[in-house]
């Protein structure tokens, strides 16, 4: 039986890629360690090695093919004594999504029997659900003039464009962080910046978060406009002293004399299957600190417009991105200078029965839940907070006055969360508008597990949102 070579997943979030180049042809003999092909992901071009020995029987996906799903059979290797006719790929074809999942057929007869339902053919994780929901699009932002031309842009590109535009306008703006320059960004957010702006303004740092966060803050105090990238906000814990004690408090402590206009940015929250230490949402930590601005955009247009605003403001900003969102494409207005106001929430969907408040990737599942609810006759309004400090309580309370019911959706723990804060705001200022208790729909109260099934159980999802919405509308 020929060995099937399948399109590999080369990063935690990769679902498809481009088969850029074959380095072997049919009939070539290969051994483990030989480079078979070059595969482009949305982040990088990677070499794909053989792990089996034999002869290349057939190549079923030609080089240059885009959007090859992970798990698609791309070639076969014949073992000794096999002929080419054994090599006809029997199942998956390139780009055939239905067949994309690798079939884990145990080759060994003695493999232990698998209990029914315990092991899905393809591990489906909670983050995959989040990503799937994150394709949902909100209604047009009224801040964008009607008739503006829109360009499909990934969140990743939108963030990069925001930085590039601001760097072109203001020489004081520079980017520093780990792998931001030569490597083009650990998540490719700074791709191309080194080429355009040079190493004076795009600066690779050693792996020393505490040190370079302090250097950034000091440079901001001295009059520059640093953008400090954390590879993820999990690592910013090493630097949180400078974010809180140096950046957030300086203006106040100096009686308004010394400012710290800096942006700390990077991915925050759950990524895919990376376990407890790399999956933490720190939004509520930073949002609790006066002196900071905290922004967490959902789609690409907001990512761009808000990052530009963050770079321009005189105040220190914590700008929370989401790795799972980087590769998602959305319409971004083709405007010379798309800058959005800080501190203004956005109504992503209008409705009259229940308000769903969320931010960042939670907006996607909220929008998905709203569609499900609509089919069941519940008309949900979805609010994207966009800025977490200062909170746009006015938009939240206004919506509550209309719907009289609210749930808050957050990819975070519920305890001491942004959701908790919204609940408090509503208790203090919207009590008379409430027809039901406000519910928090959040992750389970445990560290992020690694196993796909547990990750799925741990994370918030659209079904939980639907359930909560029914509960507060008394329709379950």
């Amino acid at each position: 039986m020929a060995i099937e070579i399948k399109m590999p997943a080369l990063s935690p979030t990769m679902e498809e890629g481009t088969l850029a180049k074959w380095l072997v042809k049919e009939g070539d003999s290969v051994k483990s360690g030989d480079i078979l092909a070059e595969i482009e992901t949305d982040k990088a071009t990677m070499e794909f090695e053989a792990i089996d020995e034999g002869t290349i029987g057939s190549i079923s996906v030609a080089e240059g093919t885009d959007n090859v799903k992970v798990g698609t059979v791309i070639a076969t290797i014949l073992e000794d004594g096999e002929s080419a006719s054994d090599a006809k790929p029997t199942e998956a074809r390139a780009g055939d999504a239905a067949n994309a999942a690798p079939k884990e057929t145990p080759s060994d007869d003695k493999a232990p029997p698998v209990p029914e339902g315990a092991s899905p053919a393809k591990a489906e994780s909670g983050t995959q659900q989040l990503v799937a929901s994150a394709e949902k699009v909100g209604k047009a932002d009224p801040a964008i003039p009607e008739g503006t031309e829109m360009v499909k842009t990934t969140v990743r590109e939108a963030l990069r464009d925001a930085m590039a535009e601001e760097m072109r306008e203001d020489d004081r703006v520079f980017v520093m962080g780990e792998e931001v320059a030569q490597y083009q960004g650990a998540y490719k957010v700074t791709q191309g910046l080194l080429e355009e702006f040079g190493e004076r303004r795009v600066i690779d740092t050693p792996i020393t978060e505490y040190g370079f966060a302090g250097i950034g803050a000091g440079a901001a105090m001295g009059g520059l406009r640093p953008i400090v990238e954390f590879m993820t906000f999990n690592f910013a814990l090493q630097a949180i002293d400078h974010i809180i004690n140096s950046a957030a408090k300086t203006n106040y402590m100096s009686g308004g004399q010394m400012r710290c206009p800096i942006v700390f940015r990077g991915p925050n929250g759950a990524a895919s299957r990376v376990g407890a230490q790399h999956s933490h949402n720190f939004a509520a930590w930073y949002a609790s600190v006066p002196g900071l601005i905290v922004i967490a955009p959902y789609d690409a247009a907001d990512a761009k417009g808000l990052l530009k605003a963050a770079i321009r403001t005189e105040d220190p900003v914590v700008f929370l991105e989401n790795e799972l969102m980087y590769g998602r494409s959305f319409d971004v207005p083709k405007l010379d200078d798309h800058v959005l106001p800080i501190g203004k929430a956005r109504i992503m969907r209008e409705g009259k029965d229940v308000t769903i408040v969320s931010y960042s990737i939670g907006v996607g599942i909220s929008l998905e839940a709203a569609e499900t609810l609509a089919a069941e006759g519940i008309d949900a309004e979805v609010i994207d907070l966009r800025t977490l400090r200062p909170l746009d309580t006015e938009t939240v309370l206004k919506s509550l006055a209309k719907t009289n019911r609210m749930i808050v959706v957050e990819e975070n723990w519920a305890t001491c969360s942004i959701a908790s804060e919204i609940v408090s705001v509503v208790m203090e200022h919207g009590f008379d508008d409430l027809d039901a208790p406000v519910l928090r729909v959040a992750n389970e109260d445990v560290p992020m597990p690694y196993a796909a099934n547990l990750e799925k159980l741990m994370l918030v999802n659209a079904a939980k949102v639907v359930e909560a919405a029914k509960k507060v509308t008394y329709k379950n």
Partner: protein, 350 residues
């Protein structure tokens, strides 16, 4: 039969190649007027700090209050070598002396200590958090060691903007053990940033003596593994301080990267006003006061230059007057308006 392993060859290269180092500093040779000015500044700091200690005792100053008494030669000697137009300074919470050495009005410093609206930080900062961007004095930081990274950032700014300035970042022997200090050393040397790291080694990190806390207690060597040269300086001798500053500044301005100056000094008072200083003997403190006092030292030099006792008395009276006026101002000027509670949290409105 087992094969004989190949012989292990010694590596011929020496472990550390010879590197250029700053020249050995020489004591500064001041004019009579310069020496008199140094004396005046040190005495102003001494009298100011004594008054601050007194006001603390009266309950007019609250919280933490870290006095600079004994260490005056460091700030005065080093500061006198800087270019006030271009160079920046940053320090920790023992910051009153540095501000006075920078010529900042004693009144607004004392009023900040008493928490008044006309204090330099509008009464919102206090003893540990004072700034004067006008004088390029960037604080006044309460987290031990934070000013080292922040100062490295200021140096980064000087280089980025090519403004010709350098940064002088002061920190203590206690801060010298913080991790971020070494992260900053690494980047400062890697990027050849114009910064002088000044370790004010006053022998005690709060109550812990240097040799109880530091595996390498010769702190000027702490930059060796980052290729940052270090110089140990008698921090009780203002002319030695100034001389070392001259060498360090020449090195840094030439684009050769950072320098570490370890200033061996001593604080006479406790770590803060609330420190009973049980970790050292009264005799130890008295011995330093008798033998190495930085102000007495300059007094002798002035005497040798023919400055009379009467001249110094007049100077002393002038300083006492300045300090008393600062104290009166700090007592009488009102507390901040209640409305100021909510100002300066953010710069912009959203």
């Amino acid at each position: 039969m087992a094969k004989t392993p190949p012989p292990v060859r010694a590596i011929a290269e020496p472990p550390i190649t010879n590197r250029e180092r700053p020249a050995e500093p020489k004591p500064y040779e001041p004019s009579k007027d310069e020496l008199l000015e140094m004396y005046r500044q040190m005495l102003l700091i001494r009298r100011f700090e004594e008054k601050a200690g007194q006001l603390y005792g009266l309950g007019l100053i609250g919280g933490f209050c870290h006095l600079y008494i004994g260490q005056e030669a460091v700030a005065v000697g080093l500061q006198s070598a800087l270019d006030g137009e271009t160079d920046s300074v940053i320090t920790g919470y023992r910051d009153h002396g540095h501000m006075l050495a920078y010529g900042i009005d004693p009144k607004v410093i004392m009023a900040e200590l008493t928490g008044r609206g006309s204090g330099i930080s509008k009464g919102k900062g206090g003893s540990m958090h004072m700034f004067s961007t006008e004088h390029k004095f960037y604080g006044g930081h309460g987290i031990v060691g934070a000013q080292v990274s922040l100062g490295t950032g200021l140096a980064f700014k000087h280089k980025y903007s090519n403004d010709g300035g350098i940064c002088m970042a002061y920190f203590g022997d206690g801060a010298a053990n913080q991790g971020q200090v070494y992260e900053s050393f690494n980047m400062a040397e890697l990027w050849k940033l114009p910064i002088i790291f000044v370790i004010e080694n006053n022998q005690y990190a709060m109550g812990t003596s240097v040799n109880r806390a530091s595996a390498e207690d010769q702190l000027y060597r702490r930059g060796e593994s980052f290729r940052i040269p270090g110089i140990q300086v008698d921090g009780m001798d203002v002319l030695a301080c100034r001389g070392a500053a001259e060498e360090a500044i020449a090195w840094v301005r030439a684009g050769k990267g950072p320098v570490i100056l370890e200033m061996k000094t001593y604080r006479y008072r406790g770590h803060s006003m609330s420190d009973p200083a049980k970790y050292r003997t009264r005799d130890e403190v008295q011995a330093v006061r008798d033998k190495s006092d930085p102000i007495d030292h300059v007094k002798k030099l002035l005497d040798a230059q023919g400055v009379t006792e009467a001249d110094l008395k007049t100077l002393e009276q002038d300083i006492r007057k300045i300090v008393n006026e600062a104290a009166d101002f700090a007592e009488q000027t009102p507390e901040p308006d209640a409305a100021d509670l909510y100002t300066d949290v953010l710069v912009e409105s959203y």
